[in-house]
Amino acid sequence: MAVKKSSKKPNVSAEELSNYYRDMLLIRRFEEKAGQLYGMGLIGGFCHLYIGQEAVVVGLEAAAEEGDKRVTSYRDHGHMLACGMDPNGVMAELTGREGGYSKGKGGSMHMFSKEKHFYGGHGIVAAQVPLGAGLAFADQYKGNGRVTFTYFGDGAANQGQVYETFNMAALWKLPVIFVIENNQYAMGTSQQRSTSSAEIWERGKAFGIPGEAVDGMDVLAVKEAGQKAVAHARENGPYILEIKTYRYRGHSMSDPAKYRTREEVQKMRDERDPIESVRTLLLEGNHASEDDLKAIDKEIKKIVNESADFAKESPEPALEELWTDIYATEVPQEAEA
């Protein structure tokens, strides 16, 4: 696979590295906790975990500037944590409580934060792709220099509206970065069995949209590619990043995992884990000690446990909430950077 690796000797500070470690670990521990709460029946319905893909959002958020927007699919917990949304509010939305980002009315797949420029959380595969281009359209219209990260999976890449959007984004030079999170499986169907092209980003060439494949298990490679994409999008319009990643868990919680072997998953975990590799960089470069990392682990564990407690203790939404937010009486003010 023609994947771009980060340079062997990464030019990053110890602080930056340990931030990536921390941010990725937060997502992983948060998702493990969500899985646990799901098992306890505290989280209902569909719950799609991000474990394994952490480097994608952490790397790209490192390339984003304040005011840039992001929109994604239903596998959205990682994106929300990475853009700085409050873990308590996210977890409480998962448990369907008043303290959740959508007051418990959206759930795992439908969460938003105007403040953090996070535009969902969309449950229909690929529907977020034109929405992301529309956000970019609004930014271009206003001339505010912002870009929109529009995330979708390898599965969504076979939906027609993606290419309708590619066409218009290229035609109108919209400041949008199409991020294909290729975790190799569209639910239970592998890329080989569903997708005619081995390199999905190359489909952009038909529309004149440049792009590249990126090693999604390497947070530094993702960040580097992200910076390039952002620079291009701000000046010249759309750019595609196909980020080769891997999800360790099932598509959703109810996944029989019959479409791939346990060994395949284990091998990825053992050899390519994005958190482990940053951990190794930190230790081997003497940027951090075991104790430093243990302290981070402990801090993360505390945040995650607090979010779970908050999500359990926050009350269910009042019954009156059934009838609110169906119609707006005035347009909510756009949070500007």
Binding site: G41, I124, S254
Partner: protein
């Protein structure tokens, strides 16, 4: 502290399962992500992973056990430094205790909610309808003759002059001047930034429009006809209509989807469908379907200013018709306020959009025979001014509805349901719903005419309900 590993729920509906196989044994060290056991549900066998790290202190449920309830403790996990002796008796507690933990997640609220059935606003006994009967314009207002086409264009242009964030996008809206010439002259006035020709790609540009609305703009998305909006249905319903609710009020889609709807003439089944009843069903959408030029103008201006997604259903046959339009600077018509075109005491005829042509024509002919019909133009279907309908029916005791759409799940069907629930005692005859025929639109001229609702059918329905 020793923690219990509980039987997990592995799907939205799972209540119990079989603990098929343990992949760890007592004394094993595990870390998060390790597979502990295989659990069989009615759908599949699934792997169950550890979430915390520790040592398996005790296995409480043997492999092969069937019918293990969700949240039953199946094993005990020890933390660093603990031994199996630390497991107190409480940890082998049965499912009841653990059940407590899961209790708040039970969706109880739906059972004891106050929602009393289908009406959007729960009915409170026999409340008297109180329609807004104020006139649309003050007496003595100067009027001018305008076609529906001109009224629509003026409404959009006025709003675009008023608000820089309003823009228009769609197929052939700019250089071609509109496939039905609605947008004539708009490119010249507002330029290509605000009057945008799109490729033929309804799903895509509808989604871009919704995204632009999320991003703070006020899009007007034109569909060349609403038949093509079928391609964009997901973006209209799932993205535009539902986001305000799903985001807990944080963001929504203040925008207008507009274009001709319903049958034109001789364009066959795929280009001749009335979507009024479809869109009217969706909470989160507002739906306007005007008849006269003044309402096209006043409602379009209201639609553009409304902070919600509005479906604006126009009619190609009406585009060229002229009506009196108030010659005032800023003419708007509120949503949810019907217009009584003709007062009468013998029967209420309710219609909207092009259906009004049949309703008014029938009323005139019936008047020749001494039957005085009250004719109500709903103007907007969501919100729907049911108060005006009910008040009228309480006076006339009879009702006929008129629309071009299909009979099953029709607008008239909804109206007759409302009348039955709110004014049953006032009815002297069953409500009759006059609709298009229950067939795809045929091409042949004679068949097409027959497939649509006709004035004669309305007259016949009125005679039936008035027994005259």
């Amino acid at each position: 502290m020793a923690t219990e590993i509980l039987m997990p729920a592995l799907s939205p509906t799972m209540e119990e399962g079989t603990l098929a196989k343990w992949l760890v044994k007592e004394g094993d060290e595990v870390s998060s992500g390790d597979i502990l056991a295989e659990i069989e549900t009615d759908k599949a066998t699934m792997e169950f992973e550890a979430v915390d790290e520790g040592t398996i202190g005790k296995i409480l449920i043997e492999e092969g056990t069937e019918g293990v309830k969700v949240n039953t403790a199946i094993a005990v996990l020890l933390e660093e430094g603990e031994s199996a002796d630390d497991i107190d008796s409480a940890t082998s507690a049965p499912a009841e205790d653990n059940g407590e933990d899961a209790k708040p997640a039970q969706a109880k609220s739906s059972d004891d909610g106050d929602n009393e059935g289908g009406r959007a606003t729960p009915a409170e006994g026999k409340k008297q309808p109180e329609p807004d009967t104020s006139p649309d314009w003050p007496e003595g207002t100067a009027m001018k003759q305008q076609t529906v086409r001109e009224a629509l264009r003026d409404a959009m242009a006025e709003e675009m002059r008023r608000d820089e964030d309003v823009f228009l996008m769609g197929e052939e809206v700019a250089e071609y001047q509109g496939a039905y010439k609605i947008t004539q002259g708009m490119l010249d006035e507002f330029g290509p930034k605000r009057v945008i020709d799109t490729p033929i790609t309804e799903h895509g540009f509808a989604g871009i429009g919704v995204g632009a609305a999320f991003g703070g703009l006020r899009p007007i998305v034109e569909f060349m006809t609403f038949n093509f909006a079928m391609q964009a249905m997901d973006q209209i319903i799932n993205s535009a209509a539902k986001t305000l609710y799903m985001s807990g009020g944080q963001m929504g889609a203040p925008m207008v989807f507009r274009g001709p709807n319903g049958a034109a003439a001789r364009v066959g089944a795929q280009h001749s469908q009335d979507y009024a009843a479809w869109f009217m069903q969706i909470p989160g959408l507002k739906v306007a379907m005007p008849y006269s030029a003044s309402d096209y103008k006043g409602l379009m201006k209201t639609a553009i200013r409304d902070p919600n997604p509005v479906i604006f259903l126009e009619n190609e046959i009406l585009y060229g018709r002229s009506f009196d339009v108030p010659d005032v600077e800023d003419y708007t018509v509120p949503f949810g306020k019907a217009r009584i075109w003709r007062e009468g005491s013998d029967v209420t005829i309710v219609s909207f959009g092009i259906g009004m042509t049949y309703a008014l024509e029938a009323a005139e002919k019936l008047a020749e025979d001494g039957i005085e019909a009250e004719v109500i133009d709903l103007r907007t279907l969501r919100p729907m001014d049911t108060d005006t309908i009910l008040k009228s029916v309480m006076k006339t005791n009879r009702c006929v509805t008129v629309e071009e759409g299909w009979p099953q799940g029709s607008v008239g069907g909804y109206i007759s349901g409302v009348i039955m629930q709110e004014a049953f005692d006032y009815l002297d005859a069953p409500v009759i719903t006059c609709t298009g025929k229950d067939v795809p639109m045929p091409y042949a001229a004679n068949l097409e005419k027959h497939a649509l609702v006709t004035t004669d059918e309305v007259i016949e329905a009125v005679r039936k309900v008035t027994y005259r």
